[in-house]
């Protein structure tokens, strides 16, 4: 199962990102985190991956629409508005739009790049993790 993760990380600041690029270039050590987006802002995560975009993503992944028209019909939404959400998902690399010919007309078929989306807001500091040995 291919999973994409939105990860909350308080250390993921703009300054830290640009420093990581410089460090990877100079140290020539791999810093590769495919299939995830990190953010130091819960607001930013939930602004980018809204409830509506999650619905659009899972409609594509579950129902394999052959066109944007069919996707919009399934979601009972205006096609232009659905396309805006699909373009945002495409930019985030969660879906792709495949151009196909239907007779002499071109159509865009949305396809999902992942099977599952996960939101990881990190573990709470409950102390439970330390009590796993010899305790209930």
């Amino acid at each position: 199962m291919k999973t994409f993760t939105f990860r909350y990380d308080p250390k993921a600041t703009p300054h830290a990102l640009f420093a990581r690029v410089a460090k990877a270039a100079k140290a020539r050590t791999a810093d590769v985190h495919k299939d995830e987006t990190s953010s130091n802002s819960i607001h930013a995560i939930l602004s980018a991956m809204t409830e509506v975009r999650l619905q659009v993503f899972y409609a594509i992944a579950d129902h394999h629409p052959v066109s944007m028209y069919q996707l919009a019909q399934h979601l009972k939404r205006d096609q232009a508005n659905v396309l805006r959400d699909v373009k945002a998902l495409e930019a985030m690399k969660l879906v792709k739009l495949v151009s196909e010919m239907d007779g002499d007309r071109e159509r865009l078929r949305p396809t999902a790049n992942y099977d599952r989306i996960v939101f990881d807001f990190g573990a709470a500091r409950t102390g439970r993790a330390k009590r796993t040995v010899g305790s209930n």
Partner: protein, 112 residues
């Protein structure tokens, strides 16, 4: 041309104006040619509500280092000096385009 992947990261940030910007940066080490960087890269910053509002830096042949703003498909070349200068220039363009990215957001939901 042999290319070794050094970095592939994407992160989301809030701007001082309250928008959300995603930045995706990758970096490959490649065999150096005269006047060309020893890296291949593709760096993009885009508005998550309007992905065509973007700053895109890349260096695919034959263009060499160049950047695109929004829907400009031609792109504008820039002179390669060093990786630090390229990062600084990208950061400057992102700031010009989207405003300052907030280092430590105070968005009411942040865990400390």
């Amino acid at each position: 041309m042999k290319a070794t992947l050094l970095l592939d990261v994407q992160e989301l940030f809030v701007t001082e104006a309250g928008g959300t910007v995603e930045i995706h940066m990758d970096l490959y080490e490649v065999t150096k040619k005269k006047g060309q960087p020893e890296y291949r890269f593709s760096w993009i910053a885009f508005d998550t509500d309007n992905p065509m509002r973007r700053v895109l830096f890349d260096c695919h042949p034959p263009k060499g280092p160049h950047f695109h703003l929004d829907e400009d498909s031609e792109g504008q070349s820039f002179q390669w000096i060093s990786i630090d200068e390229a990062i600084r220039f990208f950061r400057e363009k992102v700031k010009e385009h989207f405003g300052e990215l907030v280092e430590v957001p105070d968005d009411g939901g942040q865990r400390t």
